[in-house]
Symmetry: C2
Subunit: 353 residues, 2 copies
């Protein structure tokens, strides 16, 4: 039997504690895994592109556990009442090859992305950051808002989306956080002006120029979450050229991140180096920093580890995704288990002969 | 909600019809998909190797449907009461990126492998084939035996395994097929001598030499199923050099199949060419033919299509692997659904502040 965490199970778990506590827990797991970066067998994700979206598989292993995530990205889905991004994943034992946990990762991806954003910002944003611009007010926006408010001390949020209803929904949901001042901005430029942190989390699968170089002020930290596919970017090229850029896994980010706009020789730092103290996330209060986040398999590995260890039997089910055999060489026995007995099978065979 | 077929559901389905009928049905789906080979976006599978086994992801898409299989191969598992191979897979809609079916594929892999073997043998074995040697009597052996007996007219089976208990189990299970004469052979050579078809389906993850060139007789068809990983082969190199070799997907077979022993210029034919009549599977009664089968993602795509279309509601469940939202941009609403109300959340936040 394989442990199963569906939408209901995760909802039940989330109902028992504040969201930021889960995000903080995920941050700790992600950090612990990034600090042992060299132990992982890493590969860029395997993408299958179509005219309307992408389906990706994201495998990774540390030699003891293996995980993969299935995730899609279909920006036009929302016009049909469907999510832009859905995801699920599996944690497996490398020693036996058996899956041990199958989990929903749609909600979890939003949580782990916010957890990673906070982790990077702790090392890259100015410590006195209080104002964040949040560009893109779709499915992931509340998670980013709550994480930065509760875990990083953001007290003012400037929100903007081309879809005013998305912003309405974000503002409505954030009513539960009365200590967070929300300002609806009339444009990206208005939202960004004077902000300490700029989080972009838009869904368009195209080369968008959402934040231009003239908007960027000294000392800003840009948390660029939405540019995560070949041909999908959010920042003007010139924003990167004058900033310190940190990525998750360079080979993947060169293809998928904001980084795809830059020449191969443009230097970047990997997040694990910053977390390990091997590289600095920020040089002084004037530097512009960019976390060019595309989402890497390691974060999902960490999230699956978190779910596997933190959700006890109250929040999990068991499913028979793989057979449990008395004799492992007798797979046929399982195929005909509950089927007609041997004699009946023989009779059936005679009938069908 | 996503359709789910676990071990129990598949067992219930298999209990309602003879196994060969399911294998024949799978053959038809596999053939139909191989006949539209050019429509598929194909890639070699993504393997994660460890000292004790391998975990693989096998994605494929025809632009309308996408599928992947997760499959492991751990030869030493049986000594711990576990299966050598377990598998599961997903069929998804390319248009939305949503998964539509999650299914067990452990039993199904054995069925679809036998279905593919029969499909190839129909074009490659001599039509008058009646005697088959079956080397390797583990988890997959009954499926091969039943498929070749019921669908290809094999009436005598010569069985051999280094593990006599595996052969005991095979013989016991095949009692249900009284029209199939079973001969226990004392060696591989004795099993192969005079056989029309030689099926090898062993599990060792190493360069084994199970069938040597001196055993091979004119007109034989070799159905080589077990050599399916880098460093895992079953046939002596010289068996291939004098035979017509058919593979599923050449780029993958060059790395994983018996073919890994041969130089890059050694010519092979792809199965789809034989099925489409673009290439011959056999030139006369004297030729030696080899189906160097490693298992390709397309067969699992076909198997998932079969399961999706042939198993009605009696044999499927629904699971909440992805959330179903009233407002697809309000993922946060799902995260806190069933959670404390806004007022309660605000109170909780104040408490935690």
């Amino acid at each position: 039997m394989v442990k199963y965490i569906g939408t209901r199970e995760l909802q039940s778990f989330l109902a028992t504690r504040p969201l930021e506590q889960v995000i903080e827990g995920l941050s700790a797991y992600i950090k612990a895994d990034y600090l042992r970066w060299q132990q992982f067998d890493k590969t860029a994700r395997l993408a299958s592109h179509s005219a309307v979206g992408v389906i990706e598989l994201m495998p990774i292993s540390d030699g003891r556990l293996y995980s993969f995530k299935y995730v899609n990205g279909h920006p036009r889905n929302t016009s049909h009442g469907l999510l832009t991004v859905t995801a699920f994943g599996v944690l497996a034992d490398v020693g036996s090859g058996y899956p041990r946990l199958l989990s929903e990762l749609t909600l979890t991806t939003a949580l782990r992305t916010a957890a990673t954003s906070v982790l990077a910002a702790r090392h890259m944003a100015r410590p006195d950051s209080r104002v964040m611009a949040l560009i893109g007010n779709g499915a992931q926006s509340e998670f980013q808002a709550i994480a930065f408010h509760r875990l990083l001390g953001i007290t003012e949020l400037r929100v903007f989306d081309v879809d005013a209803e998305a912003t309405d929904k974000l503002c409505r949901n954030l009513h539960a956080y009365p200590q967070l001042r929300i300002v609806r901005a009339g444009s990206v430029a208005a939202a960004v002006r004077g902000a300490d942190i700029v989080t972009t989390v838009t869904a368009d699968k195209r080369r968008a120029v959402i934040v231009t170089a003239d908007m960027v002020e000294a000392g800003m930290h840009l948390n660029a979450v939405g540019g995560d596919c070949p041909g999908k970017t959010e920042l003007q090229r010139e924003v990167l050229s004058k900033a310190r850029v940190v990525v998750e896994f360079e080979p993947q980010s060169r293809i998928e991140g904001e980084l795809q706009q830059m020449p191969a020789e443009f230097a970047v730092t990997e997040l694990w180096q910053v977390l390990a103290g091997a590289a600095s996330g920020r040089a002084g209060d004037e530097e512009v920093t960019v976390f060019d986040s595309v989402g890497f398999a390691l974060q999902d590995f960490s999230a699956l580890r978190y779910l596997d260890e933190q959700l006890d039997g109250r929040f999990t089910q068991q499913i028979d995704l793989v057979p449990d055999l008395a004799d492992p060489k007798d797979l046929y026995g399982a195929a005909v288990d509950g089927a007609p007995t041997e004699t009946l099978t023989a009779a059936l065979n005679l009938l069908h002969a």
